[in-house]
């Protein structure tokens, strides 16, 4: 494992933000990667380069800069298509993030696919981004969500999933990896079951795409969404994969420039996919920088390293955290990504969050945009430490040590006063 840690230390140097001190003077320990990952210099440089040298609008200029910007933007699309194993880059739509992606799909399906009374099978571990867009649809067209429970260890329950499928099921919409628990859903198996039930499947890959390579064709899925900023890319850029011919079937999400073939006063005709779904000026620099993040991960970090080292960190964190008195770890089922949610008896997660922050440790506390999962777990909130390949075992040691200190601090006894 030592060679892993040496590599991780070397890679940290690619992330300028990690070398700064916390406000308190402590060294900064960033364990909130599932909320957003830090950005390597290559990604930051890509954004600078674009605005320094290439900035222009795309798809509409005959001039040199516009053509350069268009080439880079479409090149980014091709890079993403290759990265996720899409059959064609026409299946890749750029959006602001996964949230916009699911809304795009949900509103499209509402107009051309759903019927009153339809059911959407989800897991209890969905992020609000895979819950609320369906509520918006349900306001206009009665349909309901059918949540599939997890196993006691917080793992995917295949039997329960099978039982949830019925003749009313019209869509399966599941996370590939819980943002709270890190547990994985076996997407390939679930997609097989969905196909046998004759319904399409949408996958929220926001967390999964960060921790292991994915291939949408091997998965055999219809819709995939993820955000760039969790994948070491910039904010404001996300990806929707629409397996052919869904791009042809779904109507445009928004109307405006760049998504049309022609416009008259009373009607317009739409551009072919993917432009049909990209009204207005897209986040050009961000799409290009996302492609750079992908190249950085593949060329300089490598999936073999990410998977092996993150598994080591996940196990290391489990052992380390279990030594904290009164701790409960949620989602111990495997396989899982490098995300640990936990609570400590008698201390509210918010107090732990403030305490850790003062130690220079950034974790997320709260409901993690997954209130139904909190209800299912029977807790108001959890503390979440989410790891990346640049985290070190000593940072996890510091987390465990600070948690032990917090336990002492909050178990106030008269002797303290």
């Amino acid at each position: 494992m030592d060679s892993f840690v040496i590599d991780a230390r070397r890679l940290r140097a690619d992330f300028p933000i990690l070398s700064q001190k916390h406000l308190t003077g402590n060294r900064l320990i960033y364990l909130d990667n599932a909320a957003t990952a830090q950005k390597p210099s290559r990604v930051i440089q890509s954004l600078l380069n674009f605005f320094h040298l290439k900035n222009a609008n795309i798809h509409r200029g005959v001039h040199w800069l516009s053509q350069e910007a268009t080439r880079l933007y479409e090149g980014a699309r091709a890079e993403v298509a290759r990265f996720i194993g899409a059959a064609s880059e026409r299946e890749v739509i750029f959006v602001r993030g996964a949230t916009e992606g699911i809304n795009l799909i949900a509103q499209g399906l509402r107009r051309v696919y759903f019927q009153p009374g339809d059911e959407i099978v989800v897991t209890v571990a969905e992020h609000h981004a895979n819950i609320v867009p369906w509520h918006l649809v349900a306001q206009e067209l009665p349909l309901s969500l059918k949540p599939v429970p997890l196993t006691c260890e917080g793992g995917f329950d295949q039997e329960a999933f099978k039982q949830a499928l019925s003749s009313r099921t019209r869509l399966v919409a599941v996370t590939a990896m819980s943002n709270v628990l890190g547990i994985e859903v076996p997407v390939k198996e679930v997609a097989d079951l969905a196909r046998r039930a004759g319904v399409p499947i949408l996958v929220d890959a926001c967390q999964a795409v960060v921790h292991h390579p994915l291939n949408v064709q091997e998965w055999g899925v219809d819709f995939v969404v993820f955000s760039g900023h969790k994948l070491y890319g910039p904010t404001g850029i996300g990806v929707v994969y629409l397996r052919h011919p869904w791009g042809e079937k779904l109507p445009p999400y928004q109307g405006g420039g760049d998504m049309i073939r022609w416009v008259k006063w009373n009607e317009s005709a739409y551009a072919p996919v993917p432009s049909k779904f990209e009204a207005g000026t897209p986040p050009i620099a961000e799409a290009i920088a996302l492609a750079e993040a992908i190249r950085y991960i593949e060329e300089e970090v490598g999936w073999d390293f990410i998977q092996a080292y993150e598994k080591y960190l996940t196990d290391y964190a489990q052992e380390s955290l279990q030594s904290v008195p009164g701790i409960t770890l949620y989602g111990t089922a495997r396989p899982k990504g490098a995300i640990w949610s936990f609570s400590i008896e008698g201390i509210h997660p918010h107090d732990i969050g403030t305490f850790l922050d003062q130690m220079g440790i950034a974790v997320r506390v709260g409901h993690h945009c997954a209130q139904p999962l909190m209800e299912w777990l029977g807790v108001p909130a959890t503390i979440r430490a989410s790891l990346a390949f640049y985290n070190l075992p000593e940072e996890i040691d510091a987390l465990a040590a600070s948690l032990k200190e917090a336990v002492r601090f909050f178990s106030f006894t008269a002797s303290q006063s």
């Binding site: 107090d351 305490f355 409901h367 909190m374 106030f412």
Partner: protein, 155 residues
Amino acid sequence: MNAELQRLYQDLILEHNRYPRNYGRIENPTHEGEGHNPLCGDRIFITLRVQESRIQDIKFEGESCAICKASSSIMTTLVKGAPLEEVDKLFLAFHELLTQEAVCHIHGLPAASQEKLRIFATVRHFPIRVKCATLPWHTLKAVLNDPIRKVVSTE
């Protein structure tokens, strides 16, 4: 131990968190209601009895962070037995304390009450936690405005 942490979590706050006063529900309340901070999951329930324009009895319960629980506990000790007009003054004083810089004197309140409130002054340095401290007070105000029964009048 970090000095900022000790300023935020003063002994009195930790103590009230660990051993909250007036915890639970009173019987035959005239007012009751819930306060919820969806951001962090703080949730408290207040029951109280108003008679002769005075809070005769009050209790709270719920699941909340140390700041919210201590603030609720201290609030109940301050308003229990207090006339409603003093409750208003306490509410305003507390609100000012948490939202304005350098509040050094709270007008028209007993020194002991001022001292108890003032331990929350450092919460202002943790903007994300201000709502934890103010939740019980806002809940109390909302509850007082919405009685479950008409207040029994002795006139």
